[in-house]
């Protein structure tokens, strides 16, 4: 018989209750149970960084956590960044202005990685930015415009 476990989790400030199989990954829970499809799934083994979210404020790979483990915790996804459709988060605005994406697949994971990075490093060097991006793969841009966008975001957020 399938084991089902209760999950009470706060995502982007909204509280959700669900019953899930313990093997359900948090990334799939966000996408398929909560219909928050902004969190992308790339490699599903912790290499590409596309599924990065904030778990109690810290960036983590949501494909390497089971949804049941989020019980009682707080999650922020890319959908939680902008205040409204018209008002992007300064980090998103910077990616828009500096053209920090092409296909956009890696973008949500990169944004969710850069949020805590810029909070801890409000004035990063280019080398620090590149190191902070090293856990997120982008196969389109060659990273140059992403680095530019993060620099611009740092200015906007200071």
């Amino acid at each position: 018989m399938k084991q089902l476990c209760a999950v009470n989790v706060t995502v982007n400030g909204v509280s959700y209750q669900r019953e899930v199989e313990p093997r359900l990954l948090l990334s799939d829970f966000l996408r398929h149970e909560l219909n928050l499809t902004g969190t992308h799934v790339g490699c599903e083994h912790g290499v590409c960084g596309a599924c990065t979210i904030l778990f109690d404020g810290q960036s983590v790979r949501s494909c390497l956590i089971f949804a049941v483990q989020a019980d009682g915790h707080s999650v922020t996804t890319v959908e939680g960044l902008a205040k409204s459709v018209d008002q992007l988060h300064p980090l998103q605005q910077a990616f828009w202005e500096a053209h920090g994406l092409q296909c956009g697949y890696c973008t949500p994971g990169i944004l969710m990685t850069m949020i805590p990075f810029l909070e801890e490093n409000p004035n990063p060097t280019e080398m620090e930015i590149r190191q902070a991006l090293s856990g997120n793969l982008c196969r389109c841009t060659g990273y140059q415009h992403i680095v530019d966008a993060v620099k611009l975001a740092a200015e906007k957020m200071r």
């Binding site: 199989e21 990954l25 960036s59 390497l64 089971f66 190191q131 090293s134 856990g135």
Partner: protein, 294 residues
């Protein structure tokens, strides 16, 4: 891919976790940070019948000073080790190695005990434990036992832990006076598995002669590789370029056994081991000398 079905348990005390492990034995896997186990489960390389999640066993997450020793709970996150002032004070070698342990997103979840019990030969933390002379405590329902780091790692992804045991604590002794340290690795990108890496600890006496040296390598064999013969060359000697060169030669030719991979041939790994040995030894010796000598 998605993990195969399993029975999930989430104990909130060590006693409960030990009882569950005894009950389910070899069919059970312990889930610490999950940064190696969950990928393996996603690939279905690992398909445990029972998963015992230790993430709510809060009594296993701590860093505390106990007399001269530092005690670290096995469920302490790698990110905590990176920023904890007690770690920086007691074990600058561990602090220096932490930013090399995968990416921040991994360190936010990954744990010290998880990394040690996983015993990946390419991992940094097992190497650091050998270099520091750490002791590791395992528990089962009937008691506890202590192991030297040397005895804990028994091969590729293999440790001395019995199926009913949980690694619960890591004890780090203080550095002797006039001890210098260095951790260096070469990786294709920051956070990737390193092609080669070394942890060096060098202790000098009042006259600047070497009292004790340790050199431990990652990705250089089927576990953390302790280059004891090379370290002996430095014992009792005044460190100089000739001695360092002899050590680098011995390590790269004899004491390591790298397998080579898609990013580097074993010859190139041996070359890197020589380069890193020279650089790390020089840095460790310099730091040992800064600690109140002359």
């Amino acid at each position: 891919m998605k993990p195969a079905p399993f029975e999930y348990h989430v104990p909130d005390s060590l006693e409960q976790a030990l009882a569950l492990l005894k009950e389910h034995g070899g069919d059970a896997k312990l889930l610490a940070g999950g940064q190696s186990l969950v990928p393996a489960m996603n690939f279905r390389v690992v398909q445990p019948g029972v998963l015992i999640d230790l993430n709510r066993v809060s009594e296993l997450a701590y860093v505390r000073q106990d007399g001269e020793n530092l005690r670290i709970g096995a469920m302490t996150r790698e990110r905590t080790l990176e920023i904890d002032p007690l770690v920086a004070k007691q074990s600058p070698l561990l602090e220096e190695a932490m930013p090399h342990v995968a990416h921040p997103q991994i360190r936010n979840r990954g744990t010290l005990g998880g990394s040690l019990a996983n015993a990946d030969p390419a991992a940094e933390l097992p190497v650091i434990m050998l270099a520091l002379g750490a002791r590791l405590k395992a528990r089962n329902v009937s008691g506890e036992r202590w192991m030297e780091a040397h005895d804990f790692f028994s091969g590729m992804f293999t440790t001395a832990l019995a199926p009913d045991e949980i690694l619960v604590e890591i004890e780090l002794p203080p550095d002797l006076p006039h001890t210098g340290w260095s951790f260096m690795e070469v990786a294709p990108r920051a956070g990737d598995y390193a092609l080669m890496g070394v942890a060096a600890q060098v202790t000098l006496d009042e006259n600047g002669r070497c009292r004790q040296a340790r050199l431990v390598y990652l990705n250089a064999g089927d576990g953390p590789v302790d280059a004891k013969e090379a370290a002996k060359i430095l014992g009792g000697e005044m460190p100089n370029d000739d001695v360092i060169e002899a050590m680098a030669e011995l390590v790269s030719r004899k004491e390591i056994n790298p397998f080579g991979n898609i990013h580097a041939s074993s010859d190139f790994q041996r070359h890197l081991a020589g380069v890193l040995t020279r650089k790390a030894l020089k840095q460790a010796i310099e730091r040992a000398g800064e600690d109140g000598l002359q």
